[in-house]
Amino acid sequence: MGLISQIGQWFDQRLQLAAPVREAAEHPVPRNTASWFYVFGSAALTVFLLQLVTGIMLALIYVPSAGEAWNSLQALNHDVTLGWFIRAIHGWGSNFMVAIVLIHMVQVFLFGAHKFPRELTWIVGVFLLLMTLGMAFSGQVLRFDQDAYWGLGIGASIASRVPIIGPAAVKLMLGGPIIAGATLSRFFALHVFVIPGMLIGFVCLHVLMVLKLGINEWPMPGRLVKKNTYVTEYHELTKRDGAPFFPYAVWKDLFFAAFILLAVAACALYFGPFGPTGRPDPTIIQAVPKPDYFFLWLYGLLSYLPPSMETPALLIGPVVVIAFLVLLPFLSGEGEKSWRRRPIAVLTVLLIAITLGTLTHLAGYTPWSPHMNAWSGDPVPDQFVHGTALERQGALVFQAKQCRNCHSLGNLGGQRGPALDSVAVRLTQDQLIRQVIQGGGNMPAYGKNLSPAETTALVAFLETLHPRGQTPARDAARNIVLGDEQPKRPSAQP
């Protein structure tokens, strides 16, 4: 013991760090902040450190070259001892980090911690969130597979829509005219040097401010933040009802951090690494690119926005959101902290969470995309194929012309267009013909691709699609217009 403390003293004489570290560790915090709600910040930091370590390990093998990256990932997955596990930890760590940062942000917001005097801590935190998302996106690019390749194309298409500088922004982003070697290299530089460097700096600032300003006290309804009295009140609180952070509160952070690390490792072990999917070969066009989990909501949003809204929403939306997040502590820098007295804050969080959750859920099964193989994969269910030869021929046309790719029958097929199980109840014969030939309402016109005979057969088949006992829709004036003497009444009608 004597020797160890002597060595310690030798170092401290030169470093002089022991006193400030002890002061920081034992600074008094309000007792009720030693809560399980206050562990997300340290958990985010822990996962970030895990990402640093596993990222460096992956860099030992990974080759940031468009020609070799995919092969080096395969080597990591299959040849290098436990390479798959390190990749899996890094991939799952990324998901956990985004999730924890978001949870941390929601907790901080609902507890009013963005208010005076912690405005700058919040703003730095907003940038930390943006950098975390930047790491997630650039990390997906480094997993240089089909998803990464076409994902870059989507990024370039979005960037190109910026007025005036759009085309230049695309070339700057891609490092050339197309997605190629230079693109991967610059995303490697971003993911490995630029963003992590900034993250480390910003994390230090963030933590420094938490130490200097003190952790946000547990919000009490009715205890209002006022700029001229808050700091004094906070110091009185920590004096009256405070406890040293170490060891009074730190044990919960330690437990939660260890639990999160364990959860990342468990996911990595059970689910394995992400991809890589197919080779990044642009001539293989049988690709269905999808972004990683935390960008799925954007993927969903982009298919639901009306075309005219899309460019403004893509370009102005992020600016508005970021500006709002940065300005938030100035818009509501004083007053109530407790979520119990801030219904709009709670509702906003719920609205955003439900919106993002719904879009993410929808992007999981992409009802807006045609099922490319439905026409060759899903047969027309038996119960729909009956009747005359013409109607059966129509079912064949229905299949061969790929109507199934967008329309489902018996829950099989695409969901881009409406299900056609009972289309005959909704549309009359004339309306069916018009819809097939001229399209409309987001349906392409098939006039050029159907012969009159095919259209006749197809419509005859579509007219059979109605529930048993329910009559198909009929144009009452049809028989008169077409010159039939007796208007035929559907027999099922009373």
């Binding site: 298409s157 700057l172 691709n449």
Partner: protein
């Protein structure tokens, strides 16, 4: 000690030192910024575009749409397969072609051609295009990007080299009007508007029932 009006020797030297560093930093910034923007400044006058052969005219049957691939002219040794690009070649008739970019005009995903329904469909957000590349449905705001082409010595060549994106200056270059359509079409599509002609379409204007 210096008062308000005089400046000390050390103070002056410090200021000159800062100025000197500023000058050196500015001088160094020029090559750094030029290096960073090299990919932008080089392409400012379509420097990336060049004419690339796709194949012989006879490789593409009349009235059909086929997938073709070409190698991007701007190659670096480390590019691997990424410089190989696919495109859809439609031979309308004779030497009349349409060469479509593989990238959806919405967000650049690879569109697939379905000859049976005569549609290009995009797997990402469900954009669809007619056989002549015009927009049929879905989120795209325009038709497919079209490469300028020419036929020389029995070879189809296209002008390419840049990733087609909705905002790129070559996008307007790539959006020529489709060639005139055959006379006996059932339906003609012009500028996204659709009209059916009663003369040629037996389903319109007939009095007799047909079902």
């Amino acid at each position: 000690m210096s008062n308000d009006n005089t400046i000390s020797r050390r103070g002056l030297l410090t200021k000159i030192g800062i100025l000197f560093n500023g000058l050196v930093a500015t001088a160094l910034a020029v090559p750094i910024v030029r290096f960073l923007l090299s990919s932008v400044t080089r392409g400012s006058v379509n420097a990336y575009l060049s004419w690339i052969p796709l194949g012989r005219v006879t490789d593409f049957p009349e009235g059909e749409t086929r997938l073709a691939t070409f190698r991007n002219p701007n190659v670096m040794p480390t590019d691997g397969k990424t410089v190989d690009t696919a495109c859809w070649v439609r031979r309308v008739e004779g030497n009349q072609f349409q060469v479509f970019a593989i990238n959806c005009a919405h967000l650049g995903c690879p569109v697939r051609w379905f000859p049976q329904s005569g549609l290009f469909m995009c797997p990402c957000h469900g954009g669809a295009y007619y056989r002549d590349g015009s927009r049929a449905s879905g989120p795209p705001e325009r038709g497919l990007f079209e490469y300028p082409y020419k036929v020389e010595n029995g070879l189809v060549t296209i002008q390419a080299g840049e990733l087609p994106t909705p905002g790129s200056p070559t996008a307007s270059l790539l959006n020529k009007k489709p060639p005139c359509r055959a006379q006996n079409d059932l339906v003609s599509i012009e500028g996204g508007k659709l009209s059916a002609s009663s003369e040629t379409n037996p389903l319109f204007g007939k009095k007799k029932t047909w079902a």
